[in-house]
Point group: C2
Chain length 482, copies 2
Amino acid sequence: MAEDRTDNRQKRVDSVQDTAAEVRAILQKHQLVEGLVQKQDMPRQELVEGLVHKQNIAELKHKLDTLHPADIAAILEQLPLDERMSVWNMVKAELDGEILLEVSDAVRETLIADMDPEELVAATGQLDTDEIADLAPDLPDEVIADVFRSLSVEEREQLRAALSYPEDTVGALMDFEMVTVREDVTLEVVLRYLRRMEELPENTDQLFVVDRHESLRGVLPISQLVVAAPERLVSDVMTTDFVSFQPDNKADDAAQAVERYDLVSAPVVDVRNRIVGRVTVTDIVDYIREDTENEILGKVGLRDEDLFSSVWKSARNRWLWLAINLCTAFFASRVIGLFEGSIEKLVALAALMPIVAAIAGNSGNQTVALIVRALAFGEINRANAKRLLAKELSVAFLNGLMWGGVAGAFAWLLYGSIGLGLVMVGAMMLNLLVGAAVGMFVPLMLQKMNRDPAIGSSVLLTFSTDSMGFLIFLGLATLFLV
Amino acid sequence: MAEDRTDNRQKRVDSVQDTAAEVRAILQKHQLVEGLVQKQDMPRQELVEGLVHKQNIAELKHKLDTLHPADIAAILEQLPLDERMSVWNMVKAELDGEILLEVSDAVRETLIADMDPEELVAATGQLDTDEIADLAPDLPDEVIADVFRSLSVEEREQLRAALSYPEDTVGALMDFEMVTVREDVTLEVVLRYLRRMEELPENTDQLFVVDRHESLRGVLPISQLVVAAPERLVSDVMTTDFVSFQPDNKADDAAQAVERYDLVSAPVVDVRNRIVGRVTVTDIVDYIREDTENEILGKVGLRDEDLFSSVWKSARNRWLWLAINLCTAFFASRVIGLFEGSIEKLVALAALMPIVAAIAGNSGNQTVALIVRALAFGEINRANAKRLLAKELSVAFLNGLMWGGVAGAFAWLLYGSIGLGLVMVGAMMLNLLVGAAVGMFVPLMLQKMNRDPAIGSSVLLTFSTDSMGFLIFLGLATLFLV
């Protein structure tokens, strides 16, 4: 019997996708019935369908009640808008807050649009102040005002603090659930103090040891609390060798520290070393995921997009980037326009010129990828930048010689002109050097301008290698061949 | 006094870059002296320089001794090969193992090449079996054999197990440092048992409750152990509602579960529910970072590349991708070649055709980014794929109308031919539809073939939008204008 109980509740990882499929299956039944009801409106039919309909709803509700809020969030993400709303309305109200936290910004918007102010205030009632701060940008002003009134003085202070820090700082990531103890008590006393709580906050791997001014003196790992003799003093057992953050530290730096020093939690202190909050690995994992996603989407000019947002909304989300790229393409087109005379005389140039542009773009993007990664880990500095540039240019030269040679041979064989082949080799080589130099320079420049080098580098690079590729190739051809 | 001690050892995040700069400064002094010694070889000079030289080495060694292995690893990453080796030789031997674990694959190779077999065996002596397994692919066979002989029977079994799982599975991520207890004892007994250890393994937020067959019955959170009354039984306090993995689960799924359910550690069980290891959030954070990096580099066809590897090695690392792209560029060039006659008659086509290809490539890459992200989170399935395709095609149609219109107007104004403008609009619209269809289809196909859709999708997409762009635009122009 006990065996069964254990096995039933132990969650296996591969079951999450299955659950989503189950939910979809129930939803489908649900819709089939609704379809029938709409088509046939005889009273008796209605009665039967109504019963089945109710059964389906009960089945779905029951299923949803067994799920973790994060799983419900994942299911909501993959449902088209109408089905998403059916499911959202069946979710237990006390999970609303958690689920809103877990879904992506775009999906959160659709869910919030469906809730009235009272529901929203109730949903935030289940959350900690740092979590309310995460939702705040998406909540209507009246709801925020109501939420504010419902908080204690201390919580209001925390919410104000959390809202005051920019999104990519430690202050915006931290929570306020730290447990503090004094250094002049025994572990026994600490244990008695902890037993008065029903449970410890999540991710509590250490307690923070503070003096009477709330100034941080050290940390007491829970594992030490467990293994050390209870009669020992906190000051004897605590460690003073630990990592701390300040609220205005960059979130990226904090993420790197958590990763590098294998932290589960770390204290956040103000300039006078007073503890103001803590950062946990859970927050950092979420931050890393969001950051990576934003970068991947940002590279192609997208802000967070709901998989099933309306066509019109999706289209607008993509405009800016397409417009920028259209401008750079127009520019490249005008460069070609300068050489229309040469192309008329030697039409092979038109067929060959995209090769010169494309390969330099590819090679330059390899440099960009390396430099962006190195910048993310703080690996580039004045001392090594020159050596790096020299290396990248040498690699480009070597690759230019080699692949330029291949492309030149292709041109020679195809068009039977050794001159055309040689111009191809020269243009490829020069444009690969352009790609390496721009691929190195652009990310460094964006970083210096305090912009994310992962976003924008590629557009600027392709702009350079396209325009310069056409200019160099058609220019050399005009000089030597036409 | 105590105040000072606390402040001195408390590590602030922004200090890591400063430390790296300090190390570089000492290295530079070091090299200046070496340069002087080489230039002037008078005996007296030598003596003085020798002293300064020794001082510098002592200073550097002292600095390195205060650093965390992960910080030393970060510094090694950003040093050119010769300086890297100087620093590596000054590092305390007992940190070698930790540092080898922390550096990237490419840098690890350079460090291992510098060590003799005895040093390598000694370095692994400081590591756990799961960590040795991580290094194993880079170690010479003779070293592995020696290491194996130095292990206990149990450790050999663990190493064999860890080496037997493919790289992207839970089995390759897990460690063996789990603490297990029985359910029929009191918390008091558990605490006494733990006090016999000097410390708990890192990331121990829960103990694993097993029966006499090592079968997992539940988990006992450390925080429960701390807050619950000591006379209570483990079976009363433990939770049976927890997440577990199996060794052959995909690492990606485990990472998603750790993120979704905010786990610090999770048990790994075999098919008979016997505990064989555990996965910690620390391993997952490292996995996510490596995975993201591999994807970013893999997108431009790079394997992990040392920032300062030799020019020849770097060049070869980039060849495959450049070769593939050259082939697709040759193909696109031949498509243009088919229409040389038309271009000779209407040279404007040569200047305009890259616009059609580029914008569809950009738009298609937006679709690819969305689909790849959705696939990573398991958000796409049979049920919603068709709706998604319909949405992406509609967005492409809308954008084609809009930006095709802009490009058409550009062509009309520039070349004064309304026919050319209309061909431009039609070609842009059709090619954006190609981009959306290919951008949706390619990642799904790669996923089905069990390949990473983030890698390769872009090349295939650009291949299609380039070739089809030229074909559609030049084809329409040949039909209607020439």
